[in-house]
């Protein structure tokens, strides 16, 4: 029999964090949403009227469409590369001698410890026409070198992958920790090769970690601002850099708020689709494996 205080306890315990979320996240978000419905005039500033004119502007503007497509192209490509690099990396570190695991994890997390500006300046020095990468390519007589690397989408993807890989590694690492080592040995004893063990036993079991890592990388890359601005330059506009421009340069805050709202909605939609179509299916498959069903 639950007493009154039993029922109240969970609510009371979650109240502080709920309040923080409401105050620091929901209220400002509602403010941004409300701001996006106002008009703007250069001399009068933000206008008091309400309307959807900003959204209409955005959806009929090819420049915005281009930026939105670029944002998602960069985020998608970054996620893909991070998975291809991060998942095997976590597996390799997991199989290392325990003495080496700590230092190796530290190396992997390294990029997260460096300020984003410093990291991007480093890439600028490396990727420039006279930078180290091009000097190496020229010395190796690669035809066509030096290449133009800076101010391309490739540079942005490289910069983002550099900092996002640790997120995949860490989240897969956490899943690997829960993996029962007996499973691998059982698979080997039944004649599975190393590759088969990895793809048919390990990978399905760490799928939750892979999915979570992918989602984090995608969301953070789609909303990244500093790296596209520094390595991509002004020509390669992404939605976050357009938002920055509207807020700080043209001072058209309502349009900036509309941009921010659309970006958030788009990321939310992509996230929902991802959980619906990919994650749930993958987890269901995992469930079947665990229950001895067809793998």
């Amino acid at each position: 029999m639950m007493t009154r205080s039993d029922r109240l306890t969970p609510a009371l315990l979650t109240a502080p964090s709920a309040l923080v979320y409401a105050g620091a996240l929901l209220v400002p978000l509602a403010g941004v949403l409300a701001l996006s419905l106002h008009g703007f005039d250069f001399e009068k500033g933000v206008l008091p009227g309400w309307g959807l004119a900003n959204y209409q502007d955005l959806f009929t503007d090819p420049l915005f469409g281009e930026a939105l497509a670029r944002t998602f192209r960069i985020a998608g490509l970054t996620t893909l590369i991070c998975l291809l690099v991060g998942v095997p990396e976590a597996w390799i570190i997991h199989r290392m001698d325990p003495r080496w695991r700590g230092p190796m994890l530290l190396v992997v997390v390294g990029p997260l410890l460096v300020s984003v500006v410093v990291r991007n300046f480093g890439w600028m020095v490396l990727l420039g026409t006279n930078g180290l990468v091009n000097q190496a390519l020229t010395a190796l007589h690669v035809p066509g070198a030096p290449f133009r690397l800076m101010f391309t989408e490739l540079a942005v993807v490289i910069g983002l992958v550099h900092v996002m890989v640790p997120l995949v590694v860490l989240s897969v690492w956490a899943s690997l920790g829960r993996l029962d080592p007996v499973l691998e040995r059982a698979a080997t004893s039944l004649g599975a090769g190393r590759f088969t063990v990895f793809t048919r036993v390990v990978l399905p079991n760490v799928m939750p970690g892979v999915m979570a890592g992918a989602l984090m990388v995608f969301c953070l890359s789609a909303s990244a601002f500093a790296t596209p601005a520094m390595l991509g330059g002004k020509r390669l506009k992404v939605v976050s850099s357009m938002t920055y421009n509207e807020f700080l340069n043209t001072l058209n805050w309502p349009l900036g708020a509309a941009l921010a709202t659309v970006l958030m909605a788009a990321i939310l939609l992509a996230t929902l689709l991802w959980t619906r179509l990919v994650e749930r299916r993958a987890l269901r498959r995992l469930g079947e494996v665990a229950q001895g069903g067809p793998a």
């Binding site: 250069f42 001399e43 500033g45 420049l63 300046f121 600028m124 020095v125 420039g128 026409t129 006279n130 930078g131 133009r148 800076m150 101010f151 520094m230 330059g233 002004k234 020509r235 506009k237 421009n245 807020f247 700080l248 340069n249 043209t250 001072l251 058209n252």
Partner: protein
């Protein structure tokens, strides 16, 4: 005994706090980063703090960032004095962010340095021209740039950087391209067309940040750029082989301008700091270290400094000035078209 000691300590602490509070009159000054901030922090601010027994907080940001910040804090300003480029400053005045200048400040400077109907004062003259790497130009046998249209020369393909339209140098570039091709500040279309068809293929990047600009010069990534005389002076002081050309169609005057902000705390102190910024002493510091021409008529410069800066009204008149009222009114439209037609 213990209690009395505690009481004594408390009293001492309270007295200390009170003394601190009265001594610590504080003023926030918003201004540019980079070499400007360096000079402010080392040569300008400490003397003012000592003389007036106050503390100055320096808030770094480029003109549009600081303008946006003050617009956001309207009604409860924390910034007391702001230093912005002349264009954004005229905009700040029209947004009602600036108080009227004290008479003494207004009368100390050349009339051309009084902006926005006596609400803001020019603190230094500079100009926008074409900055180029003299060492590289010599090695490759290129003549020094003489015209704005040199930016269209095919040998500079992908070796030019131009600040974006969010930046005063970028606005100057577009305005000059329009002027020399039959347009004006009110008719920018010819400028956009030339930028799109002739200049854009040569441009490696549109870059507003002075930090990235100097990095690109230093790595040899770019050979020339549209930039300001003061930025070039800072690079020269650091020993980099950079020079600035005044194109024959005219270099564009660029003033750094200051104003005291409406509804900010410590208005008297703000006026005092503004007067200090245009005092001959500080004007000489900025002329020597920043390459800024003095706006205060009484400033006397040593000849070696005078030769390097815009000095005196005649020299100022030889530069081209934009009609900021017209430009600011159309700036949102310029930005829109620039982003769609040029910066692609």
């Amino acid at each position: 005994m213990m209690r009395s000691l505690l009481g004594l300590l408390t009293a001492a602490a309270a007295a200390l706090c009170a003394a601190q509070a009265s001594a610590e009159q504080r003023l926030t000054v918003a201004g540019y980063g980079g070499s400007y901030e360096q000079i402010m922090r080392t040569s300008v601010i400490p003397a003012f703090e000592r003389e007036n027994d106050v503390r100055i907080d320096y808030l770094t940001g480029n003109s549009s960032d600081n303008l946006a910040r003050m617009q956001a804090q309207r009604g409860h300003q924390t910034v007391g004095v702001a230093v912005l480029d002349d264009g954004p400053m005229v905009q700040a005045v029209s947004l009602g962010l600036c108080r009227t200048l004290p008479d003494a400040v207004r009368d100390a400077v050349y009339p051309i340095a009084v902006l926005g109907d006596d609400h803001a004062v020019g603190t230094g003259f500079g100009f926008t021209g074409i900055a180029y790497n003299t060492k590289l130009f010599k090695e490759r046998g290129f003549p020094a740039p003489t015209s704005w249209m040199d930016l269209a020369k095919p040998e500079y393909r992908q070796r030019i950087a131009i600040p974006g339209i969010d930046n005063t140098y970028g606005v100057h570039t577009l305005a000059m391209m329009a002027r020399i091709h039959g347009g004006s500040d009110a008719d920018i279309a010819p400028g956009l067309k030339v930028m799109r068809q002739q200049i854009n293929p040569n441009v490696l990047a549109y870059e507003s940040s002075p930090g990235k600009m100097s990095e690109m010069f230093q790595s040899g990534e770019i050979w020339l750029a549209v930039w300001g005389s003061s930025r070039v002076a800072a690079m020269q002081q650091a020993g980099f082989p950079l020079a600035i050309a005044r194109p024959k169609e005219g270099a564009v005057v660029l003033m750094t301008a200051g104003c005291a902000i409406t509804d900010s705390p410590e208005p008297a102190l703000a006026d005092k700091f503004l007067a200090y910024l245009v005092s001959p002493k500080v004007q000489e510091i900025f002329a020597t270290q920043y390459g800024a021409g003095p706006t205060n008529r009484a400033t006397k410069l040593p000849p070696e400094v005078a030769g390097r800066v815009i000095y005196g009204e005649d020299q100022v008149r030889s530069l081209i000035g934009l009609d900021w009222d017209v430009v600011n009114r159309n700036r949102a439209d310029w930005t829109r078209q620039w982003q769609r037609q040029v910066e692609r």
